[in-house]
């Protein structure tokens, strides 16, 4: 399954939903879309608006590939579960977000060259990238998150010092 998700942001992301639905109409990929506040209703792909976070986590874990806006939650979860991820950032100029910070996140991740995370900026390139990633059949190993361990330690120390 390919899980397409656009998060909780109050603006829609029709550009991604439409493209994913179009891909679903002429390929054999099983595509499930979380469309959030987007107004376009997919014709070929299965879709829903929102689900509780635990359910979304299950969809991510059950996917061969996740395609997402540059939303932090999805990126963190894909890394944790070791699921390949294509990031397609929301753009201010299309009314998809208030700023272009999703492009900044995408660029920062691109520079870091994370395994199994791919960035696509134009929807015309999405289908080719999906084919490329699925053809790799990679089995990513969930990584240990050093940043997370450091944050937990720092916050714990602060709490204990103020006890």
């Amino acid at each position: 399954m390919i899980f397409v998700t656009v998060g909780n942001h109050f603006q829609g992301f029709d550009r991604l939903i439409k493209k994913a639905d179009e891909i679903a109409s002429h390929t054999s990929y099983a595509i499930l879309i979380q469309k959030g506040y987007s107004s376009y209703r997919p014709q070929s792909a299965r879709y829903f608006d929102f689900v509780p976070i635990q359910e979304a986590m299950q969809y991510i874990q059950a996917s061969e590939l996740v395609i997402s806006h540059a939303g932090i939650g999805t990126i963190i979860l894909c890394k944790e579960y070791g699921i390949p991820l294509i990031i397609f950032p929301r753009r201010k100029k299309y009314g998809e977000h208030g700023t272009d910070h999703q492009v900044e996140i995408a660029r920062a991740i691109e520079e870091r060259k994370d395994d199994h995370i791919y960035i696509v900026y134009e929807e015309e390139q999405l289908e080719a990238k999906i084919a490329e990633v699925l053809a790799r059949r990679e089995k990513p190993i969930p990584g240990t998150n050093v940043g997370r361990a450091n944050l937990i330690r720092t916050i714990k120390t602060f709490i204990e010092d103020h006890n």
Partner: protein
Amino acid sequence: MKKPKKIGLICSAGGHYTEMLQLWETFEGYPKFLLTYREITTKDQQDAYYVENIFRGPLAFIKGIAKTFMILLRERPDILFSTGSEIAAPAFYFGKLLFGTKLIYLECSAQVYQPSLTGRFVYPITDLFLVQWEPLLKKYGPKAKYVGGLL
């Protein structure tokens, strides 16, 4: 033995909430409560208080702020921790100014080069201020710390 400190955890829905869940084990063993937005993604969580998004309109703004105050009055947390975003602002100011609460703010990992509005707003009163990308340090003052990021 001193009474363990009570911790209030505050975050919006979406990525801020996922970041909170990633750090949940930090607060295991402490009495705690969660303050978040009422959304499908966040519903039915344990020990949670819900407010409507305060930017959904003037009425939601007033109701959200009043409810935040009532929750702090009832819970009297010793420490507030937030992963953002604007939902933290009223709670942090009430906490600091009225109850002397210690404040910990984690700037969202979505902020790579630019500070968030909420981050800038709560920075002056926050006791432990953490950013998740090193380049962001120079946009804040000397109090900001970078020890790593979730992303």
